[in-house]
Amino acid sequence: MTRMNRRALITASAVLAVAALTASTIPAQASEIGVSNSEIKLGMTLPMTGTASPGYNKIPGAMKAYFDYLNANGGVNGRKITLKVEDDQYVPTQAVAKTNKLILQDKVMALISPLGTANNKAVAASVNPGRRGVPVLFVNTGFSGFADAKKYPTTYSILPSYIMEAKIMAEYIKDNFAGKTLGLVYQDDDFGSDALKGFTSAGITFAVKVPYASGSQTAATAAGWVTKLSAAKADVVILFGVSSATAAGLGTAAALKYAPQWILGSVGGDATTIKAAGVPAGVLYNAVGASFAPATTDMTDEYVKLFSDIYAKAVPGSAFDNNVLIGMNTAFVTAQAIKAAGANLTRKSLMAAIEAKGSTFASAGLVPLNYSKTSHIGYNGYWFGKYSPTGDLKPIDGKYVLYTTDSGSGAVVKSTYKRPAMPAKGLPE
């Protein structure tokens, strides 16, 4: 039994009060899992192998490239960032096991950029980072549900939601393909259902909708998609799936001489990945794509320029593509969050910093970050472009026209957002 009389309670309270006062003025070593005087441990899960891995498996290398650059420049508040990476193969139960390892065995301070809607839902249900107080920073999924701060109190989105993407894409279709016969290929889970919600709310009607179960995307199954799409005489087809599904769809359609106007969802629209899967650049040519970040070939963009320079030195010979840019940008935003949390870095202070200052963080994104005490929403918009003859996504007429919206019934509007300039040397200030 613990016994404490009233005088002792009063004394203890006074000591605590003084301590609280001094804590705000005198930096002290934080006592937090995954944080030492010299190191901050972060962990991530994503498919490094398996059907869904192409393209996404470059993200850890990209993030490490930025963190190594940051560490070489002194780290954040004197601490260097270590990234632990676990391969979940895009299997939810694997994600649970690997996340458990990261939290319980590797003792990471926070999870960063875990990929996949089903995987993140499985982790939320089984590992329960919210209950453990473990930050889940910048999940690599656009499922709108993860912005629900009540259900996922420690989870922060970064990608625009799939609903937002579909709503904005719908506007683009209305403006450019009115009267055309529309087809849709989508992943038959919450990833796809979010997209369906967005298209439905925008009043888009498809002549044919082709769902595919996650993991089933192969050339053989894609032949079935093409049969349905061509039977419906779809003029414009939206591929709203992961990169491997996009590649399977485009490659198979080309082989079967089916050539509608393609519109690629951002998740599966990375050209390097699609081309690496054997799809000729010519097949991509003139397809429409979307992004919230600058074109990866736009070396006039200060973020793209610096990130590509860092990446070229860290991973020589590896193409600087959209997955790399998004990965490095996520690492950059994370570094700013850690910096903003101050010297007494804790899980709570990190999340408080995102909520207090996250909307002002510099980033490569051309649309705003929407973090606040009541919002865990990251970016909220897109620009549209077309793939060049070499397969690079570039803004139409060379100009980024940004649209933003929300995951509800809000309108799609043209954005006037001006992003913050990159801090000196791309290091958090």
């Binding site: 404490m4 009389n5 193969q89 139960t93 694997q94 096991a97 319980l104 769902p211 996650s214 993991g215």
Partner: protein, 548 residues
């Protein structure tokens, strides 16, 4: 475990035969208590008798008895005889038995721990089998009294039990907190309504999709009811066998309902329907041999865990749980006077809202999920809901039940993927105790304001989660999963090692003596050394679906 020479003597003396005692005393129902009659042997004397309800018991008391006795309550035993050759698990058939079990499974190593350290053990066979919570608690109360009378130097009474015995133990501690000093409910069953809801959901789902001639409940009284229940067991096992054989093709059993056949025509694999049934009922998606994580090398490395393994795990778990589900339903219906399962208001879509995302691929995607849930909608005349008997359900509601209140130091141990007594039963107690602890702290603060002395409430609950290994499905050279190995830890029912039981026993003895648990990392260290046990306070098992 290192065994001293004295303890070795006990090991030599105690055979497992002695520990599952053959009761020679007549056991008339509702007679006066008999015994205990002791054989006076040294170093351990065995005493036998019956309580006033006719339940046989056995006590084993060492010559150097130190005043501590551990009362063990055994798990569920079927309340009807089963013919030979019907169940692979009991090829010779099953006869109702009330043989006392003073130690888990008659394990001599566990008995040796108690007896070799001067402690006594005892257990009743109970006067009736089947779901017997009410009578078993009364029997145990009487048995403790009988022991104290026979051995007046008794100072500490510990109680533990497995499965149904777990909830018997928890109920004993809730209702008679001064009777016991520490308890250990292991792989504890939940209250009867949640347990039979899970059982009913599995049976109703299998019936609705795969064989509409399965009764699934509302059995007749007497021999006719026994025949109906046995008939259901045969049918369910036949369906599961058929599903196993068509796991890769997705074909539906020939006995499938019109609804099932329509889903088959729509391209929904039978394995997805089976998985949906398991998720609706809350069956774990890990089983004896299927971790839903591993795949064979080659083309199926990813597809197997993503699309097939969860269904195979459900199949294995359903096979483990089906017989008990049917026989427990029949037994409680007999006690309550009618059908006790009612799913007329169950929203199965809500039941699987989260899990259908996680197992989306194995369920064949949202389109297939939507089709299956639509087929189970009450509006579908081919999927009639089961309506319970209101009086019987009310009667079931009056049966003994736990609230989760913790009165004495309590150690719980449960497998996280137990398909029969799900880990959620333990989680319910954890949740209740969390609320209790907050209330106790508030009360302590309020009392401190008056007395000027703060007396912090003592933590009285430790939970040992028996975790599944990180990955454990193994494959042969052809890539087929191997299912002949023992069940993985944390799976099947009460799959604990001797080391696990001894860890619980030692914690229970220590807590019984001191009234509290050690602080610091001692418990975590003991759990880790025991193997596959975790005290992770953040682990959370899903509650039984009844509570949704």
């Amino acid at each position: 475990m290192r065994i001293s020479s004295t303890k070795s003597r006990f090991l030599a003396i105690l055979s497992s035969t002695a520990l599952v005692a053959t009761v020679v005393i007549a056991t008339p129902a509702h007679a006066a208590a008999v015994g205990p009659i002791c054989d006076k042997k040294v170093p351990v004397q065995t005493c036998q008798g019956t309580t006033s309800d006719g339940a046989p018991y056995v006590m084993m008391v060492p010559a150097n008895f130190n005043g501590t006795v551990a009362l063990y309550s055994h798990g569920y035993r079927y309340n009807i005889d089963l013919p030979a050759g019907m169940l692979p698990s009991v090829p010779a058939g099953y006869k109702i038995t009330n043989t006392p079990e003073p130690i888990p499974g008659g394990n001599p190593a566990i008995a040796n721990y108690f007896l070799g350290n001067g402690m006594a053990i005892m257990g009743s066979g109970f006067s009736r089998q089947g779901w017997n919570l009410d009578v078993a608690v009364a029997t145990n109360v009487e048995l403790v009294g009988a022991f104290k009378t026979a051995f007046p130097t008794t100072k500490k009474v510990l109680a533990w039990g497995s499965s149904l015995g777990g909830i018997i133990t928890q109920t004993l501690a809730e209702k008679y907190p001064t009777l016991v000093d520490a308890v250990a409910p292991m792989c504890m069953a939940d209250n009867i309504a949640p347990e039979l809801t899970a059982a009913g959901d599995v049976l109703w789902g299998i019936k609705t999709f795969f064989d509409p001639t399965i009764k699934g409940g509302n059995y007749s009284a007497g021999a006719a009811g026994n025949a109906e229940a046995i008939g259901d067991i045969v049918k369910v096992l036949t369906v599961l066998g058929s599903l196993k054989n068509s796991m890769s093709t997705g074909a539906w059993p020939a006995t499938s309902s019109a609804t099932g056949k329509a889903l088959q025509a729509a391209g929904v694999p039978s394995r997805s329907a089976l998985l949906l049934v398991g998720l609706m009922a809350g069956l774990p998606t890990q089983s004896d041999h299927f971790d839903s994580i591993s795949g064979p090398d080659g083309a199926l490395k990813l597809t197997f865990p993503l699309a097939v393994s969860p269904a195979l795990a459900t199949l294995e778990n359903a096979a483990s749980a089906a017989v008990l589900a049917i026989l427990a339903t029949q037994d409680v219906e007999l006690q309550a006077g009618g059908a006790v399962y009612d799913n007329t208001k169950t929203d199965y879509s809500a039941r699987v809202e989260d899990s259908s995302v996680i197992y989306n691929a194995a369920l064949s995607g949202n389109t297939a999920i939507g089709a299956m849930l639509a087929a189970l909608n009450p509006a579908n005349p081919d999927a009639p809901r089961a309506k319970g008997n209101a009086d019987a359900m009310a009667m079931m509601g009056k049966m003994a039940a736990t609230t989760g209140k913790i009165n004495v130091p309590t150690i719980m141990m449960t497998g996280v993927a137990d398909p029969i007594t799900p880990a959620g039963a333990t989680q319910r107690v954890v949740d209740a105790y969390a609320a209790q602890l907050v209330a106790e702290r508030d009360a302590a603060i309020a009392a401190a304001k008056k007395s000027r002395e703060y007396k912090a409430p003592t933590k009285k609950l430790v939970v040992l989660w028996s975790m599944t290994p990180k990955a454990y499905t193994t494959f042969d050279a052809t890539g087929s999963p191997i299912t002949t190995t023992p069940a993985a830890p944390g799976t099947n029912h009460c799959t604990f090692t001797t080391a696990n039981y001894l860890t619980v026993a030692k914690m229970m003895v220590s807590a019984g003596n001191t009234g509290k648990f050690p602080t610091g990392g001692a418990i975590a260290t003991a759990a880790r050394k025991s193997g596959n046990l975790s005290v992770d306070k953040y682990f959370r098992a899903p509650l039984l679906k009844y509570y949704n």
